[in-house]
Symmetry: C2
Subunit: 470 residues, 2 copies
C-alpha cells in the first residue's frame, strides 16, 4: 500500500469513526463499566455455580442443577422471556479415580493421570505395557507397527512457550489429545498417555475431549492425560530404560444420551424484534474442577450483560438474548440445536458474542465478519481505550456461536488475557479462587458495551463511507 | 484539532515511524521474547529471592542477603562490572505480631491488623479506646477535637472500584495511610486504624509507609492497617454501638540507620560509554510476605534485561546498567544516592526504566518525556503489537528512577496489568505462588525490547521530521 492510500484510508477512517462514537456512547459505556465494577452480579453467580454446584459435565446431576439455577436467576431479572431449549447430550462418566505408575530399578513412581473425556476404561485389573515416547503422528509413522504394537504410546510434545497467544500454543498440541488414541491404535498400541496441555510445570493432569473417529469399538484403547511434571519424569526414566513398564487403571464409560437443555433469556427488541443479538457461554464443564474459568465465567458474564443493559437504563431496539449452551466440551449438541432452531424459525442473528476463554482481564475481541462490518467495529475501538481494551482483530469467535455464521452477520469472542488460562484449563485447579472479581467484572462490562453498540447501530449502517466499501 | 491537521499529523507519524521500525528491529525483538520465554532466568532468581531469602525490609538481615545474592548472580553474567553502592538506610522493626479486637455486647471480635511502617508502638499493655470512623481529613475537621480527643481514628475510605487503573484508586486513598496519624494527632487522637489499601474483601492487612511529618516524638500515635473484611465488620459494629472499645497492641520500633547498598551491574557502551541507560527495581520489600510482586519481580526482570541483551547477541552502544535500588519502601535512600552520584560523576542518563508494578502480564509503559522524545517512542509502538503491548502513554515512571529526570532524557515505568496488584501489595500474600512465570518473563522481554531500541537509536534522533518539532 502506498502512502497516499494510507492517508486516504486514515482520513476515511477518521470520518467514519465519528459516526458511531458519540459523547452519548462514551457516557453509556462509562455507566456500564461503573455498574459492573460496583454493582455487578457475575461474581456472586459464579460463587454459587462453582462452590455450591461444582463441575457440570454434560448429562450429570450437576449440569441439571446448573440449568435450574441459571434459569431461576434469569427469571429474577425481569426479562421478557426465559425458557429451556431441550437437547439430548452424551453422558460420559469418569468412574473411580485413575491410578498410574511406572516401574524402574528404583521401584514404582506414581504419576498423576486422568482419563480423557470419551475414553474407554482399562480392564478392571488395569493395563501394563512398555512405553514408546513420540512427539507427533509422524513419529508414529516412522516407528511403525513393529515398535508400537502392544505398547502404550506416550505423546510428549509440549505447548510452544514462545508463542504469545497461548491458544495458538494449544492449537499446536491438541491433536495429540483429540486424535492420539485413534492414530496410535492403527499401529496396534494398547493405550495412550498424553502430556497435559499446560504451559506450566506442575502436578495437575488436564482432561479434555478425545475421539476414536470411526474406529470399531473393539479397537478402542484407553487414553489418559499425564501432568507436565510427570511427563518430564517419565521421559527422563525412559531415557535411562526404554523397557520400563507403565501401569494404568481407569474405569470411565460412555452411557446413553440424556435429556438436557440450553438456558435462554430474552429482552425483545423495541424496534427490530426479529434482529437478534445473542451473548453466551457454555453451561457444561469438565468434571475435575468446578469449571470456574471454563466456562462458568462466560456464563455469568453473559447473564450479567442483560442485567447491566437494564441497570444502565438501556432499552434494546433489537432482541437481546443470553444463551447458556449445553455440551460445548464433548459434543456441541446445544450449539448445534440452537443454530438449527434459529434457522428453522427464521431468526435473523445479526451479532453473536461468546465468552469462553476464561474470566481474566479482557483485552478485546476476535471478530468473524466481512470487511464492511469489521470496519464498522473498528470505528468503535477508541471508545474502549479508557478501559484498556485494545485487541480488535479478525479471527475466530467461539465454538458455540460458530454455527450461526452468515455472510452478513458478525460473530465475536471475548479475548481475555490468555497467559494463565492453560494453568487451569480442564484441570482440578480450575476453581473459584482462581478467578479475580474485578477481572471477571471488566469482562462483563466489555461485552455489554459491545452489545450496546451493536444494538444501537446494527450491522449494516447506511452511512458507510464509499471508500470503505468493497 | 481540525481534520487537515489530523491528516498532516498522521502522514508525519507514518513517515516518522518508518525510521525506527526496521525488519532488523522486528527480528531482534522476536529473538528477545523467545529467549525470555524459553530460556529466561527471572523466575528462578525470583524463586530464590522469595522462597530462600523472603521479605527484605531495609536494614534487615534478609535485605543484606538479597544484596549479596543479586551481586553474586550478576557476577555470573560476564558483565563489564558489578559493584555495591553504599547507602545508609532507616531500620524499622515490626516486633511481635500485632493484636487487635473490638468489644460489643456479644463479646470480643478479633480483627486482622498490622502496624504501618514507621509507626510507634502502643504501650506494652496495649491501647484501649473508643473509635471514631471517618472517610477523610475533612471529616476530622468537621468532627473537631471534641469528638476525636482520646479516641482511635478509623479511616475507612475504600479504594474506588470503578476506576480502571487500580493505581489511580490507590492514589485516591493512600493519604489515609501515609498522613492519617499526623492529621488525627492534631485533634488529640490516641491511635489510628486504616482500612487496607485493597480492592478485594479479604482478611489480609496491608502495611506500607506512614509519616508523622514534623510532629514531636511525644505526640506520635500508633498507626495500624486493618483488613478490608474487618474494616467492614468494625464499621457495622459501630453503626450498632458507637461507644465500643477497640484494643490494639503493637511493639514496632525505629532503630538507628544501618549500612546498606544499591547493587549495580554494567555493560559499558561500545560507542557512547557516557550515555547511560538504566533498568531497575527495588531490592527492599515489606516484611509481611516475601515481596514477590513488590518488587522481587522488578528486580529479577531488570537483571534479566542485561542477560537477555547478551543472549540475543546484542552489544550495547551505550552503557547499560541494572540498578537494584535499596529502600524504596520507606525512605528512597538508594534512589537518592544513585541520582546524587550520577550527577556528581557527570553521567548522562538518557533513559531510565523501572519495573515496580508487579510481575503481571505487561501492557506497556508510562513515559516521562518531552514531546519530541515521546513522539520517537510512539514510532516504535507498532513493533510491540505482536506481543500485545499497547499502552504507551505520558505519565509517571517509577519512584527510584524519578530523581534522574532532566528536560531531555526519558524515564519510563513498565505497566503490567494492574487488576490484581492490590490483592497482594504490602500484605502477607505477596508471595512467589502469586507470580505466573510467563507473565513475569513477558515483562522482562518487553523491558529488554525497549532498552534495545533506546540503545540503538538514542534519544535525540537526527531524522525527527520538522513537523513534529516544537
Amino acid at each position: 500500500m502506498n502512502s497516499l492510500k494510507i492517508t486516504l484510508s486514515l482520513v476515511a477512517l477518521v470520518a467514519f469513526c465519528s459516526s458511531g462514537n458519540t459523547q452519548e456512547d462514551k457516557d453509556i459505556i462509562r455507566t456500564i463499566y461503573t455498574q459492573s465494577l460496583t454493582n455487578g452480579h457475575s461474581y456472586q453467580w459464579l460463587d454459587h455455580l462453582s462452590n455450591d454446584i461444582g463441575g457440570r459435565l454434560s448429562g450429570s446431576e450437576n449440569a441439571q442443577k446448573a440449568v435450574e439455577y441459571t434459569k431461576s436467576e434469569l427469571e429474577k431479572l425481569d426479562l421478557d422471556s426465559v425458557w429451556l431449549q431441550p437437547v439430548m447430550v452424551p453422558k460420559w462418566v469418569r468412574g473411580d479415580k485413575e491410578e498410574a505408575y511406572f516401574e524402574t530399578a528404583k521401584g514404582k513412581t506414581e504419576v498423576n493421570v486422568c482419563a480423557l473425556g470419551g475414553s474407554v476404561a482399562t480392564a478392571e485389573e488395569g493395563l501394563v505395557a512398555q512405553v514408546v515416547e513420540v512427539h507427533n503422528f509422524e513419529d508414529l509413522k516412522a516407528l511403525g507397527e513393529e515398535a508400537i504394537k502392544g505398547k502404550i504410546v506416550f505423546y510428549n510434545r509440549p505447548m510452544q512457550a514462545d508463542l504469545i497467544q497461548t491458544f495458538e500454543a494449544y492449537g499446536g498440541c491438541v491433536d495429540q489429545r483429540y486424535a492420539g488414541a485413534m492414530e496410535a491404535a492403527k499401529y496396534g498400541a494398547v493405550g495412550v498417555v498424553v502430556r497435559s496441555m499446560n504451559l506450566r510445570q506442575d502436578d495437575f493432569p488436564h482432561t479434555g475431549s478425545m475421539s476414536y473417529g470411526d474406529l470399531p469399538v473393539e479397537q478402542r484403547i484407553p487414553s489418559s492425560a499425564i501432568s507436565t511434571n510427570d511427563a518430564e519424569a517419565l521421559s527422563q526414566a525412559l531415557k535411562a530404560n526404554d523397557n520400563l513398564n507403565f501401569y494404568l487403571k481407569q474405569s470411565c464409560q460412555q452411557m446413553d444420551d440424556v435429556q438436557s437443555y440450553n438456558v435462554i433469556g430474552q429482552i425483545t427488541g423495541s424496534e427490530f424484534p426479529n434482529e437478534y443479538i445473542i451473548v453466551g457461554g457454555h453451561l457444561d464443564s469438565w468434571d475435575l474442577g468446578d469449571g470456574s474459568h471454563d466456562d462458568g465465567a462466560g456464563v455469568v458474564q453473559s447473564m450479567d450483560v442483560l442485567r447491566l443493559m437494564k441497570e444502565s437504563g438501556l432499552t434494546p431496539k433489537r432482541s437481546l438474548r443470553v444463551v447458556l449452551f449445553m455440551n460445548e466440551e464433548n459434543g456441541l449438541r446445544g450449539a448445534t440445536e440452537y443454530a438449527r432452531l434459529a434457522e428453522a424459525n427464521n431468526e435473523n442473528h445479526i451479532f453473536a458474542l461468546e465468552s469462553d476463554a476464561g474470566g481474566f482481564t479482557p483485552r478485546g475481541f476476535s471478530f468473524a465478519a466481512n470487511e464492511r462490518n469489521f470496519n464498522q467495529v473498528l470505528g468503535w475501538k477508541s471508545l474502549f481505550k479508557p478501559y484498556l481494551i485494545h485487541y480488535f482483530e479478525l479471527g475466530g469467535s467461539g465454538a458455540d456461536v460458530g454455527p450461526l455464521k452468515t455472510d452478513t452477520n458478525v460473530l465475536a469472542g471475548l479475548r481475555p488475557d490468555s497467559q494463565r488460562y492453560f494453568d487451569y484449563h480442564h484441570a482440578s485447579n480450575d476453581t473459584f479462587d482462581a478467578v479475580n472479581k474485578r477481572e471477571l467484572e471488566l469482562g462483563a462490562a466489555t461485552m455489554t458495551s459491545l452489545v450496546y453498540l451493536f444494538d444501537k447501530y446494527g450491522v449494516n449502517p447506511i452511512d458507510t463511507p464509499e471508500i470503505l466499501k468493497d
